[in-house]
Subunit: 273 residues, 2 copies
């Protein structure tokens, strides 16, 4: 059993995220792991990944798209900071999708997304994504149900298209519980160095907690496919969240097994003058 | 005297890169430094930079644009890999400019460049840049002199505009000598894991070495301005090149002195429920 399978939503399965333990520690041989040891293991994984990324770039045939979702304060920014710092930025880009601009609103919802999908050899991270169009768009009723509901199928078809080409799609949902969100929002209020992350809208969004949970459940059920399954990462504990995401990334890249292109016969023995 | 000043081309000065020592070790207190110790110091600089980058992003007011130029094999990719891995990719993007696409050719030479300049809070690296339009464009006569010659002034005005706004521009020219280029090209031929970096065009480009030197000299003279001076980095020795670039980056970010935004009065004492 791969490490990743502990987190995978099997296509067709029901999902109730509120019944899951956001503080769980899955896939480890010990029940009470030492965070310091896990962090050391994680740094080894990151070094391994740097080598794999270099080969993926040299190979120039395939790409990895990582999609991060999660409620406010779930740790999306933290995952990027901890798990992707260490990638060579030449072949790694992070795109954070905010409220669509007026220009973007003038197009279909996948228009801005497709512009940011990775080219061959690249690793791209979406911090939020097209999934917002079945999450915030639904919860805040930005569009009527007959507009957002067909998007599940549209998204599945879009991702199938990407994966039928050069792109591997890895979808990670960061799960925290309501009390953990409260603590993190409070820190943004209390710590002056974290004030800049506080958005008053976070308060009104928090009031819609139950609506978001419902939207998450349906998104995770409807869009966990054979070609691009969702993974639910217990994210109350940052050290475990970082460990799990890094390990899943490493496993994914190892399975892709990128290789340096075959040695070139046409230059063999050439002497540069 | 700042570390950076050792490398700066003072505006108005003559430049003859062929008379400079590409193996020089500048700005250190010892004549024969220990590469291992320098590498350790460099990693400390990188940790300091990660903190500064985080503040620059939080501040969300200013940006840093790093422009890398140098002849084939000068080490542009290596500098990105060694000196920018460790930046949080959320706020750091690298753009490698290759031969312009047909679409780009249909526009002025700064059109594709301006689309990639950094937004507030960002660090952006140009691996090659608009300077190719007074380098390869000149050497290979892709356009006549009456087209490329006015570009020096155009570039200076463009960079003045950027720096009068939110952007700091740091220009680094990596200097290697002709024999060092030969050795590095030979490695790309001999090492199967480096074959993918070998481009047969590199051979014909190498034959134009003297023309490139002339174009470099004029670019460095004409476009070293008070607002965006060039820095010439001796780059024959990779460990010194990496040390010098990292130290210059750190110094630049320290002088920018980014700060977390002021604590917000409006949320002081707020209790999250």
């Amino acid at each position: 059993m791969s490490f990743r399978e502990h987190f995978r939503v099997n296509p067709g399965n029901k999902v109730r995220v509120e019944q899951m333990d956001a503080s769980a520690v899955l896939g480890l041989s010990v029940k009470e792991p030492d965070p310091t040891l896990l962090e050391a293991a994680r740094h080894q994984d990151m070094e391994t990944m740097a080598g794999l990324q270099h080969k993926l770039f040299a190979e120039n045939k395939r790409a990895l798209l990582v999609i991060l979702q999660g409620i406010d304060c779930a740790g999306k920014d933290g995952v990027v900071r901890h798990c992707f710092t260490g990638f060579n930025p030449t072949g790694c880009k992070v795109w954070s999708f905010k409220a669509p601009t007026l220009d973007e609103q003038g197009h279909d919802f996948l228009w801005r997304i497709h512009q940011r999908t990775p080219g061959k050899g690249e690793v791209v991270v979406f911090n939020r994504s097209h999934y917002e169009d079945v999450l915030i768009a639904r919860v805040k009723e930005l569009v009527p149900e007959d507009v957002w509901r067909p998007r599940y199928d549209t998204i599945n078809a879009f991702e199938r298209y990407l994966t039928s080409g050069h792109t591997e799609v890895l979808k990670l949902f960061l799960l925290i519980d309501k009390d953990q969100q409260r603590r993190r929002l409070q820190k943004r209020v209390d710590n002056p160095e974290k004030n800049w992350k506080f958005d008053p809208a976070d308060i009104s969004e928090r009031e819609r907690w139950d609506d978001y949970i419902k939207a998450f459940d349906e998104m995770l059920e409807k869009c966990s496919t054979e070609w691009a399954p969702w993974h639910i990462i217990p994210a109350n504990r940052k050290w475990y969240r970082n460990y799990a995401v890094t390990r899943i990334l490493r496993e994914t890249l190892e399975e892709m097994n990128p290789k340096f292109p075959a040695p070139r016969d046409d230059i063999s023995g050439m002497v540069i003058k």
